[in-house]
């Protein structure tokens, strides 16, 4: 019996089998490499999240077994004046500190984007504060804001202004923390700087030929070309601002009179000081939902103001 071209068929089949085996081995390798991250996510993020979600429906003091109490924690939460106070504090802080931080970071990045002697030194200097421990920095700010002998009020006195009693005054304590938050703009600044350095120089040259001034170049080239970086910094800023803890805990402890009682501080108090873990879990979930909603809002709004070169019509 005549069998046409038997050899190539066997060769193709063998080749396909080899390719399949290679893909299979590659897949195994991929899973092995991914396993630590996936297992870490499952055990250290998703697991605790599921646990905290379940605990938020219980009365749990960690000392004894949790008791199911349905929606009682959430019901209590919405009638809890201090919860609303902490929500107000976190919201106010976020609304002011995030835009302020972005503006200051962008301003610094613009200044440090110049080619000049010693620029690397200045970039390091402005970035350095972000690598210093949060608690150490918080202690430092306590001294700076001392109403009588703090350097901030001494400087204000130098220009004829009597500074407030920052950390003990309900009106000024949150303002002090917002100012202190600027200490950490170095990280945001660095990302802006990377974005600025990615803007093609020919765009500015073309604009200059067309007669555009500095301000016009900034608003029509710089801002749109770094909008994706701004978007990234905004998302991280919102998440970070709603989770702020160390500064509030160390500098003011939530006081005076709960004027700096951030959600995370309130959560900590209930969990680790009052042993109301079930209630603290409910606060944590509300905080998570707020962060999620705001992040989604920023993402949804991004087509209106974020420009991606790769999405320009006519480009692949």
């Amino acid at each position: 019996m005549d069998t046409p071209h038997p050899q190539p068929q066997i060769a193709v089949r063998q080749s396909a089998r080899r390719a399949s085996r290679r893909r299979h081995i590659e897949a195994i390798h991929a899973y092995i490499f991914m396993a630590p991250a996936i297992l870490g996510l499952l055990f250290f993020t998703l697991g605790p999240m599921v646990a905290s979600f379940l605990l938020s429906f219980t009365d749990y003091n960690i000392l004894t077994d949790p008791r199911w109490n349905g929606l009682a924690n959430y019901d209590r939460l919405f009638n809890d004046e201090l919860f609303w106070q902490s929500l107000r504090v976190s919201a106010t802080y976020s609304i002011v500190s995030v835009p302020l931080g972005l503006v200051v970071a962008l301003g610094l990045a613009l200044l440090l984007n110049h080619k000049m002697r010693g620029i690397l030194f200045f970039r390091s200097v402005y970035y350095l504060p972000t690598v210093i421990s949060g608690v150490g920095v918080a202690m430092l700010w306590r001294w700076l804001f001392n109403g009588d002998y703090g350097i901030i009020n001494i400087l204000l006195r130098g220009v004829g202004v009597r500074g407030p009693n920052w950390l003990f005054d309900e009106t000024w304590a949150l303002v002090a923390l917002i100012i202190a938050s600027l200490w950490g703009v170095g990280g945001t600044m660095l990302i802006f700087l990377a974005g600025l350095q990615g803007i093609p120089q020919e765009l500015y040259e073309a604009a200059e030929i067309d007669g555009a001034g500095r301000w016009r170049q900034f608003t029509s080239i710089t801002l749109p070309m770094i909008s994706h970086v701004t978007f990234f910094n905004l998302v991280l800023g919102v998440i970070g601002a709603l989770q702020v803890f160390t500064e509030a805990y160390v500098i003011t402890g939530g006081g005076p009179n709960n004027a700096t009682l951030f959600l995370s501080v309130y959560l900590y108090r209930h969990a680790f000081q009052y042993l109301n873990f079930g209630y603290a879990a409910a606060v944590a979930w509300v905080l998570f939902l707020i962060v999620l909603a705001l992040t989604l809002l920023v993402f949804k709004s991004s087509p209106l103001w974020v420009y991606y070169e790769s999405e320009r019509p006519g480009r692949n």
């Binding site: 003091n61 960690i62 000392l63 004894t64 201090l82 306590r142 001392n146 109403g147 009588d148 002998y149 703090g150 009693n165 950390l167 003990f168 309900e170 006081g255 005076p256 009179n257 709960n258 108090r269 680790f272 000081q273 009052y274 042993l275 109301n276």
Partner: protein, 453 residues
């Protein structure tokens, strides 16, 4: 609530073998002394070596600075040396803010420490049914209840159920008035003593406050712990008041009573009316990182007896006196320090042996260490206790007998401290609230929390 004593079979057999005829006291035979003999003497030597591994005791204490921490480590070593081969105390020291979370997490993981130091948070552990009832152990160690040696009436605060002890005290603290002798000498003023009233304090503070233009260069006093609720309450007690109706499970805060408001007003006026004491901000600025009294810029300072060791190296002469009287009455606050044992510890008898040893044999060493105040009178009044110590210490310790507990025990006491008492007292002593407003706020909010239980 019922409480069962846990005694390991191995311990029982070991004790029986060692104690022989003293079998009836077998549970405490591990201490090396007959627990049924009310001698007031604690064991000083270990019983004969026994076979097998020593019983491991996991103990936890909060850190109190390098000097006291080192004393605690030495104490653990002394205990292990004394009971070599029988017990092995593994003592961990943690900063206070990590101490309670660690204990709570250990309970949560069903692996509690065998022994830890008491503070008010432990009442929550009692309420959760987690503490061992130590009364049966104490009953077998009658020397611990010798009223000549121990201020046993003050122990009632730790009889949470009204009759049984849930902790074994080993030290006691009271409030005191510390003063800078150099500043008094420079002004030519007599030193404070046990006859002083608050009027005398105010009079001296006025003379000792020095100003240069708008700036105060030397303060006559610092209210110290008197701007905390338990400090302020001592003055209210002396005036005939009190902030709540009872210590264990209070049912009512009554800070708005006229006499309590009067006490708050007096203390607040020292800062804002008489201006002889710094505000909180002036204090934090003056104190730097070493404490305001240690700077030498304050003539008088109110604090607990626990601060004595912290003042040892100050570059000026200082002494201490009892809290001043209000007219003829003085009431100080006291706090018991001691050990508590989880009922789920597998080595309750061994843990109690350490608690008992600390409250008896170790007391003289505590006296000579000059860190904390021994609970045993013989140690507290011993010569070692006063060697190199301020002359006024003896009279300060004399106020223990008439003192009242500076705490209250309720399930949510931490929430009442954190959400009501602390912020309201802050506002009061920052000058942002009148005493009447502060008292009203405390009563409303604290009573609401008490009602929630």
């Amino acid at each position: 609530m019922t409480h069962r004593i846990r005694l390991s079979r191995r311990q029982f057999l070991r004790s029986a073998a060692l104690g022989g005829a003293a079998f009836a006291s077998g549970m405490l035979a591990a201490c090396g002394a007959s627990p049924t003999t009310p001698t007031g003497q604690a064991p000083t030597t270990a019983p004969a070596p026994v076979s097998g591994e020593p019983t491991k005791i996991r103990a936890l204490m909060w850190s109190n600075g390098p000097v006291i921490d080192e004393n605690f480590k030495v104490r653990a070593q002394m205990f292990n040396d004394t009971f070599k081969g029988q017990y092995d105390l593994d003592l961990q020291l943690l900063p206070y803010d990590q101490y309670w979370p660690r204990i709570d997490l250990a309970y949560g993981s069903k692996n509690p420490y065998d022994l830890y130091f008491f503070d008010v948070q432990a009442y929550g552990h009692y309420r959760a049914g987690l503490l061992a009832n130590l009364q049966p152990y104490v009953d077998l160690a009658p020397e611990l209840m010798n009223a000549e040696e121990y201020p046993v009436k003050l122990y009632d605060a730790w009889r949470f159920d009204g009759s049984n002890l849930f902790g074994l005290p080993e030290n006691i603290q009271v409030l005191a008035l510390y003063y800078n002798r150099d500043l008094f000498d420079a002004e030519g003023l007599a030193y404070p003593d046990e006859t002083w009233t608050w009027d005398d304090v105010l009079d001296a503070a006025t003379k000792l406050t020095k100003r240069s233009g708008d700036e105060t260069t030397q303060w006559g006093m610092d209210v110290g712990v008197m701007d905390i609720w338990w400090g302020a309450q001592t003055l209210a007690w002396a005036m005939g008041g009190g902030f709540f109706d009872r210590i264990v499970e209070p049912t009512k805060f009554q800070v708005s009573d006229a006499v309590n408001v009067q006490a708050l007003t007096f203390l607040r006026d020292l800062i804002f009316e008489h201006k002889v004491a710094p505000t909180k901000t002036q204090r934090s600025a003056t104190a730097q990182d070493i404490g305001i009294f240690q700077t030498g810029k304050v003539a008088m300072f109110f604090d607990g007896s626990w601060s004595i060791s912290g003042f040892q190296d100050v570059p000026f002469k200082w002494d201490m006196a009892p809290l001043p009287k209000w007219k003829d009455t003085r009431v100080s606050a006291y706090w018991l320090g001691g050990h508590i044992i989880p009922k789920d510890s597998k080595v309750i008898d061994a843990s109690f042996a350490f608690a008992r040893w600390s409250a008896t044999t170790y007391q003289k060493t505590m006296a000579s260490n000059h860190d904390w105040i021994p609970i045993a009178r013989s140690a507290r009044e011993s010569e070692e206790m006063y060697v190199g110590q301020p002359a006024g210490l003896r009279s300060v310790l004399g106020t223990i007998e008439g003192a009242r507990l500076g705490d209250f025990y309720s399930r949510n006491n931490q929430q009442i401290f954190g959400e009501v008492l602390l912020p309201t007292f802050d506002q009061l002593f920052l000058g942002n609230m009148t005493p009447e407003e502060a008292a009203k706020k405390i009563d409303e909010e604290a009573n609401a929390l008490l009602a929630k239980g």
